[in-house]
Symmetry: C2
Subunit: 245 residues, 2 copies
């Protein structure tokens, strides 16, 4: 037999997905729910933890627990410049960009394949939809490749406009590699995305290279699992079919 908290989880989930508990609605307090189900508060909290991980419930200290409003899922479209990155205007996204000049260390140096300590421009994108944080992106451009003017806003949450500006500066991209990992967010990421550390995030590490194989742009994107997906479409030349056998 399932444990108490699992049965409570299933019951509450059912109430939420069927709409008996409306999106945005405040749940009864944990103490009230606990007594209704005849369990202690810590036990009831186990159930809420699970629902929080599923993205069905938001917890707010001092305010209460709420049924999460279903959010428009945003799509990251991979595969280079085919993306229509002007999504921001259509979806009422606010993309705030801050620009910093940093010295490449550890992960950034490895990503860009530059020496540690060399200068890099870092653009930090924080995208929000209706004041609710949505995604976090860090774009890196080695200053040996180009020195772009600072930015403050953007029309793309994914930094695709950087690629565009590189093109204007005469840098031609030849290939884009995306590396995707699922993990739980760090405490800092959870705070900035106003999600919980129990909700999975999709991390996308992107590098763009020119024809000579030089990395001209790198990016690390963090997308909350319940708000975002990544799409990749590949068209296969018919001749490729032979190469496989």
């Amino acid at each position: 037999m399932a444990s108490h908290y699992q049965e409570i989880t299933d019951d509450l989930r059912q109430l939420i997905v069927t709409g008996s508990l409306a999106p945005g609605e405040q749940l009864p307090s944990e103490a009230r729910l606990a007594s209704r189900y005849g369990v202690s508060v810590p036990t009831l909290r186990l159930a809420l933890d699970v629902l929080q991980g599923e993205g069905l419930v938001e917890k707010h200290q001092g305010r209460g627990n709420f049924v999460r409003r279903p959010l428009n899922r945003m799509s990251y479209e991979g595969g280079g410049l085919r993306t229509d990155y002007r999504a921001a205007a259509r979806l009422a996204l606010d993309v705030i960009v801050s620009t910093h000049e940093i010295r490449a260390q550890g992960r950034v140096a490895a990503l860009l394949q530059v020496r540690k300590g060399s200068w890099v421009t870092e653009y930090t994108y924080l995208t929000s939809q209706e004041r609710s944080p949505h995604s976090l992106a860090r774009i890196y451009v080695p200053q040996s490749v180009a020195t772009l003017p600072p930015m403050e806003t953007s029309r793309s949450p994914w930094g695709h406009d950087i690629q565009d500006r590189l093109a204007e500066a005469g840098v031609q991209l030849a290939s884009v590699t995306d590396r995707l990992v699922a993990r739980l967010p760090t405490a800092d990421e959870a705070r900035r995305l106003r999600t919980s550390t129990k909700t999975a995030v999709l991390e996308i590490e992107r590098t763009s290279a020119d024809a000579a194989g030089r990395v001209v742009e790198g990016a690390v994107l963090v997308l909350p699992g319940h708000r975002a997906e990544a799409l990749f479409t590949t068209r296969l030349p018919v001749s490729d079919l032979e190469g496989v056998r």
Copy 2:
């Protein structure tokens, strides 16, 4: 100031990543750790929960808690048939396939864009490395497209050999779409992958279409976050650069 369990989390994490607690080593029992840190058992368990979510600790009921051995990260390479799917032999992967004939419902019908109730062949792949489950894949082929003979083993954890066998049957793939989401596993998935429901998984939904746009294969892959990543590489024709402006 950080809470007790967060400080304990940080301390144990440090011991693990520096190697003071060796991979595979059994941790002291929860009661012993709790008394060592001067907290109660439930509090200590909060810390272990976090480390479990990070993939650093494995819990085994009745046996104890263990430092997880770092695992070879497996890569899913997207973007159609360019993948070298013969990875199984090199990495000593065991891929067990079971074949079922099912009627398309809900998600499967939507994935394959076929009518509900139409017949589909389902291949369930369970891949293991050194007896440790590694990834779960379900591949679907509409029987209106082809009826392939049943399979029992495979050399690809991702079902790419199905695409190969479709080609042999005269079905030519023209495009592949991958859709990636990060989420927590269902209880069933966690059990089959022998991971915890607190570790994020990468879900990849793939559809392959022929030149007419007909979906000839669909797949749902579930990869544990700490064992797998997905890679997509796109080469950009120079002419594409113009289309973007």
